[in-house]
């Protein structure tokens, strides 16, 4: 089966900087594919190219088997977009937001009206049909944006940081809805800088930084390949961590020191955790042994320093 999205050597250059510096990826039908990266990594530029609003500067891109350069209109007819910025129409009440948005697509008004009703129920806003947009909470607005993105029953749903700025309850509700959509077979592309979000939702993901892809795999495989299965953290200054490491055989386990933290990445074969804990106790230092997460992969690949 042909992929839903296929990109090779894809680039986006603006007048004074390169946002996307030649990336390759394939997104298969029915999967949830993630773009993970710090701010400015090139995620949103990539999304805008998938959306066929901004055109690639170089490289190949095919979306739903079509070329965005010539078929932008037809691509967008079959696309759902949940943008990062909240751009619901504050001049219109909840239901009209869906009806007016639906009118931009080539579908009958009655069909749009029926879907609008179903979608408001789906995102649990059925009792808010006549409310004004400014009356909605952040989570309700985001759910409405998702409902709006589904008004044309899209084959591909683009979600640009769908839960940024929401409280935990609101995030979990949105994740539930997105998993329901995935179960229905909707292909999804997601950008996020929340690792837990990517781990929960994405079948496969790429980690991006400075417009380049640093790694691509399933969340599980990324963690195992780049970090291991456990992480040992020790509160220690640079000098303290030198002393600490001098007294223990690391057997090749990778470690890093930044600021006031020593981090040791452990795979199953190392079997070091007991010795590290013992040594930390002797030194009377604060320590933590925890499961490795996508965040460790992310920080390892993109660096712990603040990028601005």
């Amino acid at each position: 089966m042909s992929p839903v999205v296929e990109a090779s050597a894809l680039e986006k250059r603006y007048a004074d900087f390169v946002a996307v510096a030649g990336i390759d990826f394939r997104i298969e039908k029915g999967e949830c594919f993630g773009f993970l990266g710090p701010n400015g990594a090139g995620k949103t530029s990539t999304m805008r190219m998938l959306q066929s609003v901004s055109l690639p500067s170089a490289g190949q891109l095919r979306v739903l088997g079509m070329d965005p350069l010539h078929d932008g209109k037809r691509i967008r007819t079959r696309l759902g977009v949940c943008p990062q910025a909240d751009n619901l129409d504050p001049d219109l009440p909840v239901l009209d937001n869906l009806l007016v948005y639906g009118s931009y697509f080539p579908q009958a008004r009655a069909l749009t009206a029926r879907r609008a009703d179903e979608l408001l129920d789906f995102v649990a806003l059925g009792d808010k049909r006549d409310h004004a947009i400014p009356e909605l909470s952040g989570g309700m607005k985001r759910r409405l944006v998702i409902a709006r993105a589904l008004i044309n029953d899209p084959e591909l749903l683009l979600l640009d940081e769908p839960t940024t700025g929401l409280d935990p309850q609101a995030r979990h509700l949105i994740w539930t809805k997105l998993r329901e959509l995935r179960a229905r077979g909707v292909t999804m592309v997601l950008t996020t800088h929340y690792m837990d979000e990517a781990e929960r939702l994405c079948d496969r993901l790429v980690i991006m930084d400075h417009g380049k892809v640093l790694a691509e795999d399933t969340p599980r495989a990324l963690i195992e390949t780049h970090v291991g299965h456990e992480v040992f953290e020790l509160g220690a200054t640079a000098a303290e961590s030198r002393d600490f490491l001098a007294g223990v055989e690391l057997c090749g386990a990778v470690h890093e020191h930044t600021g006031d933290l020593l981090v040791v990445f452990l795979t199953k074969k190392h079997d070091l955790s007991e010795r590290l804990i013992e040594r930390a106790r002797q030194a009377g230092a604060r320590y933590l042994l925890r499961n490795a997460s996508l965040e460790d992969v992310f920080l390892k690949l993109t660096g712990r320093e603040l990028e601005e």
């Binding site: 609003v53 967008r76 007819t77 129409d89 931009y104």
Partner: protein, 257 residues
């Protein structure tokens, strides 16, 4: 689902979105269109008019009325094309949201201008009704100011949209209103006849699009169109086409980063 939407579908739905919003505030909007020209008509037409001698055989209110219809059009279209469109372009992200659908930038521009024309034609109709009530409309040809209002409204809206595409803030529009719109209002033959003005002033007035709109409106409302009325109409049409082309170019640049 049909494969693709037409250019007209996109433009009509963009205009339709604005119409849907406007319907919620239609009463306030109509009051604005109705109240201000009425005040000018009373204060200037009948107040100041008492000491103004007849112009080409017309009383001052008769002279003023056709011009008030189209100056309302200019202000309606200009406000909507600057503050209204700028809000949709920036703070509300309306255009960004629409661009995620099959609607294109060109369709947004066309739909916005179509909307500017419709809203202006509505404003022209309201003012026409008002001045008709004062017995200042002798001819049925005056109904022509409705399509004229649409055309002139589309032109002024497109001009305003150019400013919107260039603007970085609401304050920027002060330049446009003070340097372009206000002089146009005052020196386009709305309040005094251009005939008899010094030749340089007369020539200068010909550069202002409103001058030609006022001339067409007078010809229609008085029921005495001439060949020169047709000439003025052609100038309005030309200006409208040019302003739309420039607006489309500027807005495409602004929206498609």
């Amino acid at each position: 689902m049909s494969a693709e939407t037409s250019f007209f579908h996109g433009a009509a739905r963009v205009a339709g979105r604005n119409l849907t919003v406007w319907r919620r505030y239609a009463a306030a909007s109509a009051l604005g269109n109705f109240g201000e020209p009425l005040l000018y008509l009373i204060a200037l037409g009948y107040g100041l008019g008492r000491v103004v001698p007849p112009i080409d055989g017309l009383s001052y209110p008769e002279f003023l009325a056709p011009a008030l219809i189209v100056s309302t059009v200019m202000y309606t279209a200009t406000f909507e094309g600057t503050f209204g469109a700028y809000t949709r372009l920036t703070t509300q992200g309306t255009f960004d949201a629409i661009l995620a659908t099959p609607v294109t930038v060109s369709e947004i521009v066309a739909g916005e201008i179509l909307w500017g024309g419709l809203k202006s034609a509505f404003g022209a109709t309201v003012v026409l009704t008002v001045v008709r009530a004062f017995g200042l409309v002798p001819s049925w040809l005056a109904l022509g100011v409705v399509p004229l209002g649409f055309l002139a409204g589309a032109m002024f809206y497109a001009m305003a949209l150019c400013m919107t595409a260039l603007s970085k803030s609401y304050e920027f529009f002060n330049y446009y209103f003070t340097l372009v719109v206000a002089p146009m209002y005052l020196f386009s033959g709305v309040f005094f006849p251009l005939e008899g003005a010094p030749p340089w002033a007369h020539r200068l007035a010909q550069v202002l699009p409103l001058t030609h709109v006022v001339a067409v409106s007078r010809g229609l409302v008085r029921g005495q169109p001439t060949w020169s009325t047709l000439g003025h109409a052609a100038v309005v049409l030309g200006c409208a086409a040019a302003a739309m082309a420039v607006a489309a170019r500027l807005l495409r640049r602004r929206l498609q980063i």
